[in-house]
Symmetry: D3
Subunit: 271 residues, 6 copies
């Protein structure tokens, strides 16, 4: 995709491009939020059946942070963990630590890199990987504050609702793209670098580090480090090109999620 | 299972048998619905604790279509997408396009081919693969009508509730049997032929076509075309017998879900 | 972990240690329940936001059995299967058959063997594998009593809520540890021995027996028997060391869930 | 209020004016529904916090009948009487018997006669007297069809939710205006004529007939017939002017709900 | 209604008849429960739309006590007071103190004396006065055990849900019949004798005693003692016949709720 | 109650005492909040079944304002007006206008004057009159800001949930005590002075003013002005002592709610 066609700056999480993005976070968030509102307004007009949903989740809120807190509170609540309690928790945690507010960056990552992502608002409302990741940021913050019982209760809800299971101790970077996300498991001691693309049903366990811009194939079971901009596939996962000289892709992990590309990558070790 | 014992015609989706089934859809649906009611009545009598559930989901309804719309509306609703809205959506969409009403065929497929399927009503109420598939037909219809935001919101609920993640753009045939279904992921550009058997946790991604009566092993990651009546297994999935001369099974994919049969099939490439 | 450091007896399920544990079940359950209450009381004090949750699920109950029945009833209920009905079902079934009350043993297994398990109460409240397993015991009991429609309805809820899919006919031992549990599938004819460790997303299908203290790697698709104290990994799963002379680990499957140990085990067959 | 100022025809229920209103019901309903939608659209724009509510209850529906069925289904449902079931019941009953569809007439009555009624949509959404009355029409229909258990279950929900208690056997006319409505009780054998105004907390019991355009004072306990266009007040209620020559008001019962007018009327028998 | 036609013994609460009823409570309760089940079975068959409701509330239960606990738990629960908690509370309290189990007697009172009461099951499910009264018995028990905060929380739910407001300290006899019940208020220090009939919207406040078989007119505000088998009407309420020689009705307060009888009674002091 | 026994200052709303209370609002609120927390802590300890409720509604909150917003949000929500939306609305409105935060004063009024009010926390959680009044303050604020549709939607929820029906335009003072509150109705143009005591089921309609410290008897229908420290009773309500020289009570309307005192007051016009 030529730069000229790029309607919005590339996500921060993609390191080799990030120098170009000088936009401060607040400005960026405001811009993304404006897009989301415009999209939701258009969709509400075209699809009355969805308008109530769009107003309650997006159009009645004054900021991305509030919209997200509301949406997560309603999705993750249960009869014993009320939506009002969770809404409060999300809102307070996002407000108290600006570093947690990576939603705008993550939304950009999904928008730029996933061809199935038709709009920011679609990702905000419907992408379970995106939503699980934002809620995980709050759970992780609580974990680092030694508020483990609350972190674990939150993790339990995320895992029940989304079938995306990220241990609250796991360190997750920004601009992560979860493709489909269903069945993804990330263990307690994993560290996931910025701009990583994680395929459906991938499992990342043990004391491993996934480098910036790496790609993890769908269904992979990753038990080893994955260097930056490298692809790991299979069960157990191996680096494409081998551990000694992994074939490094110099750009961002796929402007497209064209998984057929994995096929050729896999051909190295299949037969 | 000898044909003589077959109490009901084989599913349409299984092509080499379909000539024998001349039953028009309405008649077939009526027959299946009558079976479901009879089963539910018997179960309600034997198990009072379940009677309320059986009456609300099956016995109080006048057609399979209404029962299914009610059940899906209640299972997929959330605090921001009300059951009444979804019920309306399912009922209207099923009514407006008879081609979406493949539930009877799918129920037969499960009943004939899955030994764990003890009754039609059990499948209707409890099979997440079956339910996700019926809801997907509605989401897909909306997608083709360019009502994408609604299609995606529906997809999001299906994926949250069932952990079965079928992109609304994916084309799914009839008589599909999802074994267990938990963790199944089907991408935007996949095309799944009739009578396909999909194992637990299978992932089907990319611009691929799964032929009629094909079998996809549990946990497989399918990134290549699978010809009709052929089996694909593994991560990444390979055809049993190899790409050049895949071993074709001439009948329907398993009157039984005997997965140990995969073992011998796999033995080709597991040294 | 040296025995001297062991603060609580090893789980019964781990056979070679079990001789040492002469504690009768009731006493053991009482001891575990006392720990859970103490933990919950401490957590409620430190984390007011969680106190309501801890009181409703643990501190307001007089026994582990009641607490578990309440928690499962609230987690598994739906608009058509009310929490009061499920609560009643769990409580009555646990009371009528003491052999179903293996929760204390399972809690110990998680506590001793999973380093991510920071407390008994955390496991009781949040471990979806643990909760799915306790609910499965009730579904299995119903199955053996020929109350199949109710067993299957319960199974459907467990599978929807936890994305852990254990057929009600499957026989599950005690002291099983599900690591993460998301996406685990266990078929109708599987028999799982005591003290087994099951990795995330593992699929166990067909007429297979998993021996005592065996380990199933994350993402494995197990279609063959796994002898006691043996590890199976991969898709399809193979025994580490090969079928002829599987490398047997003499102790309990991992005092730690250190999955990097799988790497060396896998090295046998990854060229 | 001079006729020239009247922006919409007077309700049918007000007999001496009704000759002037030749508008057939369908046309009238369509006109009122158009007003409601316009009001809701304006309110949704001005008050984003309410937009979701307005879209789900009004703006996503294609007719007054569907909107009302949806709103009543959601307001009257309980954990044992699901909203989908009630929605179906209301929709089917309103469709099958056009005479039940008096909502438009009742809305006009409220709009013309109650100064506190600021808009049609406000009455449709918020007036418990109006809502209880529409639901009562359905309960009454069921009663006359000898479907008493369902009629009584519905009555129970109306009475619980609105604290407005109209026995399903009671015969209620059109264009009834319940002022505040809280605590109103109408017994099994009461017959309420068209255009009646019923004050807050009024109780009407026994084999009594309330004539067209009569007024029942707030807190009155009516145990006697009230002739047309006559006012009854007090506990027990007496006719203003006495039983022999009740003071008859020739027009519609109050273009305003000015209750201070009751004062002078009451002066007859106070002292 | 001639005694010969009486299909079931008169309620205990009606003192002059009670000698005739030698039926021990257990037997009586069993008989009433059998009637209820038979009625519910018949209604479920005739009205499929209601069958789910009837099975969940009545037909799936093994005793009147369990059915009532379930129904009250589901009606009185809120997002902060869960149905499972309330169900437990009702079941345990009814079990621990047989004197609280007056439901059968109260059901008989309603059935014999209220012509609007078409069946026992209708009263059990739908009569808010009956339900509020049973729940009040539990709240009162808690009050006498000095468990006031719980008693008051329960009272609050009863008052919110039914608009029937009985202070937990109030002493209520057996065989009480609340006609309509909406808006009834009974204060902390009131004592209500057996077999009393309380009209809609009646308020009983202060240190007063309502004697056996007394009748309180609808909308009355009772601030004085009412002797046995005496009628009080009006606001403030006065005894019919005057305080000196109140006209005593020798039988049970109305085999019918014929409120027009109040008219003649009231004629004493009206004019 | 002698002043010496008074454990807390008299409510501001009681004018002749108010000079003595120099406590600024913030200090007062903090003191009341501290009492509430202490009470709730004690109750939670003594009554484990209630602890979850007390933690979620009181003990997990940092201020009276947040606790009240949470409690009202959860009590007043419906399937179409979510608790998170209402919670936000209450919290924002209370924060933006300190004059709305009269809860502490109202709590004191209930505590000092209603002998049935055993604690502040009991009133905060369970008094429907108190809760309806606090929610009304927010609805009234919205009304004065011309946000009528939202004000009316809120009013509708208050009226449904509590059967307390205060038109959002009505002006309500501070330190109001609603006794029981069930069935109370206050019309659009009423003005209620400070320290007023309103009996159960009272109806106040028309362009009337209720003066400071006035008392309205239970079941009264008030259509005339009530001067300060004067009692009005009956239907229609008359001033005790007559309109010309109403008997004025010089102190606060009843340190007790002894309704028998009404008896003697009423004796003026009864007979």
């Amino acid at each position: 995709m030529p730069a000229g066609e790029l309607r919005y700056p590339c996500p921060v999480s993609c390191p080799q491009v990030s120098q170009a993005t000088e936009t401060p976070m607040e400005e960026d968030e405001a811009w993304v939020w404006a897009q989301i509102k415009a999209e939701a307004r258009r969709d509400a007009e075209l699809e009355p059946a969805l308008a109530s949903y769009l107003y309650s989740t997006i159009l009645s809120h004054s900021s991305l942070e509030r919209s997200l807190s509301f949406h997560l509170g309603n999705k993750l609540c249960s009869s014993t963990l009320l939506s009002t309690l969770l809404y409060d928790l999300f809102l307070n945690t996002f407000s108290s630590d600006p570093s947690l507010r990576a939603a705008a960056v993550d939304l950009r990552a999904a928008r730029v890199r996933d061809p199935a992502c038709v709009s920011f608002s679609h990702c905000l409302l419907n992408y379970k990987g995106f939503l699980a990741c934002q809620a995980h940021r709050v759970a992780h913050k609580l974990w680092t504050q030694s508020r483990r019982p609350l972190a674990l209760a939150l993790h339990s809800r995320i895992s029940d609702v989304f079938a995306v299971d990220i241990h609250p101790a796991a360190k997750i970077g920004k601009g992560i793209l979860f493709d489909h996300a269903t069945g993804v498991v990330i263990g307690e001691t994993a560290v996931i670098g910025d701009g990583v693309l994680i395929g459906a049903g991938a499992t990342i366990l043990g004391n491993v580090k996934i480098g910036e811009g790496a790609k993890i194939g769908a269904g992979s079971v990753v038990l080893i480090d994955v260097p930056p901009r490298t692809t790991a596939v299979g069960n157990p996962a191996r680096l494409v090109g081998g551990k000694e000289k992994p074939s490094r892709h110099e750009e961002c992990p796929g402007e497209s999620m064209d998984h057929t590309s994995f096929i050729s990558e896999w051909s190295d070790y299949i037969i």
